[in-house]
């Protein structure tokens, strides 16, 4: 709980986050960082894992959300659960590998043992505890709320507040867009995660994910060295691609409009694979969705989205942002495997490695620019970061969704508008 003194000096987010500019301290302040962990990651919904990462009973992954270490697992009944990674007895961390499979969870300290549904099932020398000791009060602590959409598991560490459905809002369309590239409507994330240490604030990573303005500068070396791999799109300001602010902090670069405008060729979003090389996948899509709609999906491809606060549907990759300190983060990346598209999945894996992660042709350079930005923003002057590109030419649709040109900063402003609301609460 914040002390009276802290409350008295409450941070004025309405001043720090303005419509066309941001205060530099948002990226450097320890107090703001701590406040974000509480208000965004602990009291709000955040992505924790995908259910395909833990397909079998006993499968678990350990994850950090905000400041909290958590275990996401599948119990014997097939249900996904998320517990705090802490023994209810004397607090030892229970799982200390990134993933694994266990029939039950045992504490390495005194041997207390828990079933996968969290029940305490074993206490060495239990008779020495007072008569009032009750196993039912000493099970694994589940997070207050967990919910899922499309296999993506989200959690919320407080019992009250908006539902996941309300949190996602229009962003379910983006998840649907990705899942809809599978003939069965399912994705899998079985390939493990690249883990990339970044010397930048987590919000810079968020902003960069949906920044359509930087490609020629930051990725110029790749465009020059390998145009095909760069999935060269029309990157000009006149591109039909729009940046989109879906509200609630969820944003997107709408590449499908580019692919639609470029004609009816399939698979531009894969770097231009000849459809004849993926006959089973194309047929399965036609059978699942009909010739016309199946074809539309394969023309348009996946979303390029940032879901508030930590999940990016980065075309055929999933990227998760883990804050570590005001000036450092970890970025996790894994390829998206589409159920029923093995022919494509093998290629998706290799493309993920080419583009993403610490050695990737794209992301290593984004990481470097993030580091330079963090270095720069540590300077006290000028106080403000300018974020006004395209502010006067945004279009607002009936449902409140805002769009603007590919290079406009509407997507970043969408993130910050929601940030300001959450942080001012």
């Amino acid at each position: 709980m914040a002390s009276a003194a802290q409350q008295h000096e409450a941070i004025d987010y309405r001043h720090l986050v303005q419509d066309g500019r941001l205060h530099g301290s948002l990226y450097t302040s320890d107090a703001i960082y701590a406040d974000e962990m509480e208000k965004i990651y602990h009291r709000g919904w955040a992505f924790v894992a995908h259910d395909s990462e833990i397909p079998n009973p006993g499968d678990f992954v350990t994850r950090k959300v905000g400041t909290q270490s958590l275990i996401a697992l599948r119990d014997k009944g097939g249900e996904c659960r998320v517990f705090y990674n802490r023994c209810p007895h004397r607090a030892s961390a229970l799982c200390h590998t990134a993933s694994g499979n266990k029939p039950r969870i045992s504490c390495p300290y005194h041997g207390w043992t828990f079933a996968l549904d969290g029940r305490l099932i074993g206490v060495p020398d239990e008779e020495a505890y007072p008569a009032a000791f009750n196993r039912a009060d000493a099970g694994l602590q589940p997070v207050a709320r967990m919910d899922s959409y499309g296999g993506f598991l989200f959690l919320n560490l407080v019992p009250n507040g908006i539902s996941l459905k309300d949190h996602l809002g229009h962003a379910t369309d983006l998840i649907d867009g990705l899942l809809g590239l599978s003939p069965t409507g399912k994705i899998r994330l079985p390939a493990g995660w690249m883990k990339h240490k970044l010397r930048s604030n987590w919000k810079m990573v968020v902003e960069n994910q949906v920044d359509g303005y930087h490609a020629h500068m930051v990725h110029g070396s790749l465009i020059k060295a390998n145009r095909t791999f760069a999935t060269v799109r029309d990157r000009k300001p006149t591109s039909p691609t729009r940046v989109v602010d879906y509200g609630k902090g969820h944003t997107d670069i709408d590449h499908p409009s580019d692919y639609r405008a470029a004609g009816d060729r399939l698979f531009r979003w894969t770097g231009g694979i000849d459809p004849d090389r993926l006959p089973n996948y194309v047929n399965a899509m036609t059978e699942a969705y009909g010739a016309e709609d199946g074809r539309r999906r394969l023309i348009e491809g996946p979303p390029h989205s940032m879901l508030f606060p930590n999940l990016s549907l980065a075309e055929m990759n999933i990227m998760v942002i883990e804050p570590e300190s005001p000036s450092s983060s970890v970025q996790y990346t894994t390829p998206v495997f589409l159920d029923g598209a093995d022919e494509l999945n093998a290629r998706t894996l290799r493309r993920c490695e080419g583009a993403m992660g610490p050695a990737g042709f794209l992301i290593a350079d984004d990481a470097e620019i993030g580091e330079l930005t963090q270095m720069g923003v540590a300077n006290l002057e000028p106080e403000w970061v300018i974020l006004s590109r395209g502010m006067e030419t945004e279009e607002i649709r009936e449902n409140g969704v805002r769009t603007a040109g590919l290079m406009d900063e509407t997507s970043q402003r969408g993130f910050w508008r929601h940030y300001r609301e959450v942080m001012s609460a």
């Binding site: 390939a191 493990g192 070396s221 390829p335 093998a346």
Partner: protein, 165 residues
């Protein structure tokens, strides 16, 4: 496994392999990208940095999984001078040690440990790991058919790896 005999020939051979590794290390440390690329065989090569020991690269993502074409692409990107992650270039020096050489007739399997110091701006980063080379003879030297680099911290978050490891 062919046991190495203590003949002059095998000793010369082992020394030639060691010198090849040291030469490769120097080219990498000094960002001599084109010269490094010429150490590779012309086709069917693999440059692999897995995310964990015993990973299956057909099912699991790797930090690097370059076939010959992608290796060339990596070198081309570095050669543009616009690769921000290596502009400025890291200052690098690595030690190669614990070298084990197994002559398998057609190919030579070499394993070695490395410690690599990277200095870039204010940061000094320590890298280390086990490298497995598969070499083929070419004239009086060798060409790399495959190189696997297992970082000791491959399962933990790592910083930019845009230099040649």
């Amino acid at each position: 496994m062919t046991t190495m005999t203590a003949t002059l020939t095998s000793s010369d051979f082992a020394e030639a392999v060691r010198q090849f590794l040291f030469h490769e290390a120097k080219l990498q440390d000094e960002h001599r990208y084109d010269e490094w690329e010429t150490l590779w065989a012309a086709e069917d090569t693999l440059y692999w940095v897995p995310i964990r020991e015993d990973a299956d690269p057909m099912r699991e993502v790797s930090y690097i999984y370059d076939n010959r074409a992608r290796l060339s692409s990596r070198v081309r990107q570095l050669n543009t001078g616009l690769r921000h992650a290596q502009a400025p270039q890291s200052k690098l020096r690595r030690l190669i040690s614990n070298i084990e050489i197994r002559d398998e007739g057609g190919e030579i399997a070499v394993e070695s440990n490395f410690i690599l110091i990277e200095s870039r701006r204010v940061h000094m980063t320590l890298w280390g790991g086990r490298t497995k080379h598969r070499l083929v003879r070419e004239g009086d030297s060798f060409r790399i058919k495959a190189k696997t680099v297992l970082l000791v911290n491959s399962e933990e978050p790592i910083g930019n790896l845009a230099f040649l490891v």
